[in-house]
Amino acid sequence: MSINNDKTITDTKRRYALPERILLNVEKPARYTGGEINSVMKDKANVNVRFAMCFPDLYEIGMSHLGIQILYSMLNEREDVWCERVYSPWSDLEMIMKEESIPLFALESQDPVKEFDFLGITLQYEMAYTNVLQILDISQIPLHAKERGEGMPIVIGGGPCVYNPEPLADFFDLFYIGEGETVYFELLDVYKKNRDNGGSRKDFLKAAAQVEGIYVPSLYEVAYNEDDTIKAFTPIEAAPLMVKKQVVTDLSSAHYPMKPVIPYVQATQDRAVLEIQRGCIRGCRFCQAGMIYRPLRTRSLETLKKYAKEIIKNTGYEELSLTSLSTSDYPEFAQLMDFLVEEFKNKKVNISLPSLRIDEFALDVMSKVQDVKKSSLTFAPEAGTQRMRDVINKGITIEDIMYGSEMAFKGGWNKVKLYFMLGLPTEREEDVQGISDLAEQIAELYYDTVPKEQRSGKVQITVSTSFFIPKPFTPFQWEPMYQPNVYLDKAAYLNDSIKAQLNKKSIKYNWHDAKTSVIEGLLARGDRRVGKIIEAVYKKGATFDAWTDHFDYDKWISAVEEQGADVPDMDFYVYRRRELDEILPWDFIDAGVSKNFMKREFENSKNEKVTLNCKESCSGCGARVFGGGICLTH
């Protein structure tokens, strides 16, 4: 009963960029060979624009990212465009590629990236910046935009880090500020038109600067004061003074990938993803995502039901993850969950629910979709005392946490994860102590709530702390950071305090690397001159800084110190309090959320004054200008 006789053993004889002797000698060669189910093949002779879409990290990380899948699917819907994928080669292959001068290639066609019209690089976290240079370098594309000739790809950056693109300004031709669904087609049309008219690279950049949301760094000049702060940020060649963030107003009608590429090699997030809403109503003052994705926009319930069914059918995934910044805030969450539980209970599809606020309903839902014994509850109080939580506008109280924990313990859970930040503005010793006390209180609550005979072992409480980094477009953007040793002192204090608690054996404590945090601060808050530091550290061999065992702090510090007088130091970029009237490197971006709002919120934080969320009351942040989402209904 053999069928499909047209299939033969040597199917499509894919031509690989790498010879077999290399593929058989690197870890997980299938990272580099493409051909996955739902990947898009086109005839390059029949397309006008070739777009290489890059996530500058390992394949398994990049393939877990929804944004790339959205843009890949959207761009490939256009017949005249072929969008392909590119990821960072792991160190074993990078070494070989450099030695043998093999240029980086796209997975689908296996053609060198340098032959493409565009190289789009998503900037999801600052610690990937050295990987960006690695991508350019092994693609054999000049690192500096100004050195790229007519035949070279236009290098365009996108993603959350472009809310301060300046440290990467030298390396990119363009940045796309905001959500990719809006002006990409317009940009590609401008590109085609310029090429048809025989226009140069420079002509295209000038024309692209007129597309809303597109920032062309080479069309802006920066002047500095004696004290190294920015004196003036001036557009030239008719580029706009402010670049306006792009926002999808109606999420239900926005493009969504119904047939995402299914990796053969197991991705870090190996599941179907359903983005239920974008943006957040909460307004936590440390949270950049909560500000830059404003306003909150939801996908309609009917759209989500249809997408969920279709995506599971098309992919065969055994897990569907709902994604958003705050899942519980989805207005029809109960109806959505009822539908999903009913639809998938016999299909053996698990539902995962990150970013859930723990209350009675959430616990009921979680007990339906998760194994209570194995799963853990997650709270993100972010700070240990109510005063500190008021400063950061984290609208969660001790009562919420204790009530949620009590119900969870009664429901059979005995694992709790708690997330906090250390080094927040105005933080005092008692705030750090508060973290330890909160963990102890929860442990005691467990033993008070669950009778001895019903306990399945000890309660397991995991406390994790990260170090606060004041990000652009947050009310704390003017705040300084501490030196790594100060952070470590705080972590050590907390560790000692937890070790002194009665239930110390039930509490585990992890903290982030302080040195990574200050470098992340440098990259998040730097200006154009920081590009020299990034280049210097890359030349010292730094890549994969987001990977703890690859990050080399000493390389970074020596790269900072080696710069001449024209590049300021860590004190200037990281450890300094900035003035409210100072021109910040990212001030040219119009994110909707206004600087006045951020100043107001900064003031409120000093007064420990809570600001209501968007559902309760409009705080006049400025995002209303986009004319969408929650701003229309509240």
């Binding site: 299939k7 060669p29 299938a30 992919t315 299909k347 014994k373």
Partner: protein, 244 residues
């Protein structure tokens, strides 16, 4: 009921590892909407097992997996549906019902046959570099006689000791009893060897032993191994062993 699925793993997916292929088939069953049987427990998984993992870089026209599926489904239709969703890299060759109480494929497995294209080694030997062997004037006659002499020599030995590295360390193994058939013609080595969890001979190991008896340098990346078939006792292909 248990079904045995015979499939081919082709060129374009040769770099996948065994775990990748397992995960791939799970999702194929889901996409093809095959009604599967699941294990008990809170995280149920499909009941399936493979006859023998296939190494990275090896292609095959004789791979097997056993799966437990809900009864009452048309097996020909399942075969067609799986082919609709498995892409170009895989092909489901047949789906057969396994007799009640029969051994699983992995337990029934005794032998495997391979065909190995070694013409590029001939090209190297003739100092032609890595050029396209299909179109180059490599003297395969001389190559054949060298390789065949090595094979005869090898097979005439009572013991062929090779060192085998496992988790517990390196030890010497006699692979002579594991060789059932071995021949070479026109740059193609054909072999039938023992297979299975405790008596497995990798084609690569055997090839290295052959070429060690020649002046030709054995280079793993210059050969193409195709697994042809997996057999149960009596050299019965697994899809004809205790299958209906």
């Amino acid at each position: 009921m248990r079904v045995r699925i015979k499939f081919a793993k082709k060129e374009s997916v040769k770099y996948l590892g065994h775990l990748d292929i397992m995960r791939f088939f799970q999702r194929c069953f889901n996409r093809a909407e095959v009604k599967m049987e699941y294990s008990e427990g809170y995280n149920p998984h499909q009941k399936m097992s493979f006859a023998q993992p296939l190494g990275v870089g090896i292609i095959s026209r004789g791979e097997y997996l056993d799966a437990e599926i809900a009864s009452g489904q048309d097996l020909e239709d399942i075969c067609r549906r799986l082919n609709d969703v498995c892409g170009d890299g895989f092909e489901v060759l047949n789906v057969k019902a396994v007799e009640e109480g029969a051994k699983k494929a992995m337990a029934a497995l005794q032998f495997a046959s391979y065909e190995v294209d070694v013409r590029r080694l001939a090209a190297v030997a003739a100092d032609l570099g890595q050029t396209d062997v299909e179109n180059s004037a490599v003297n395969l006659e001389e190559f054949d006689s060298v390789v065949n002499r090595a094979i005869s020599e090898l097979l005439s030995e009572d013991h062929i000791m090779v060192s085998k590295t496992t988790k517990s360390g390196t030890r010497e193994v006699d692979i002579r009893p594991q060789i059932v058939e071995l021949s070479e013609k026109d740059g193609n080595v054909k072999m039938k060897v023992t297979a299975g969890s405790d008596n497995n001979l990798k084609p690569d190991t055997l090839l290295a032993s052959i070429f060690a008896k020649t002046d030709i340098e054995y280079q793993k990346e210059k050969i193409t191994i195709t697994r042809e078939e997996l057999f149960a006792d009596g050299f019965v292909p697994l899809d004809q062993f205790q299958c209906e």
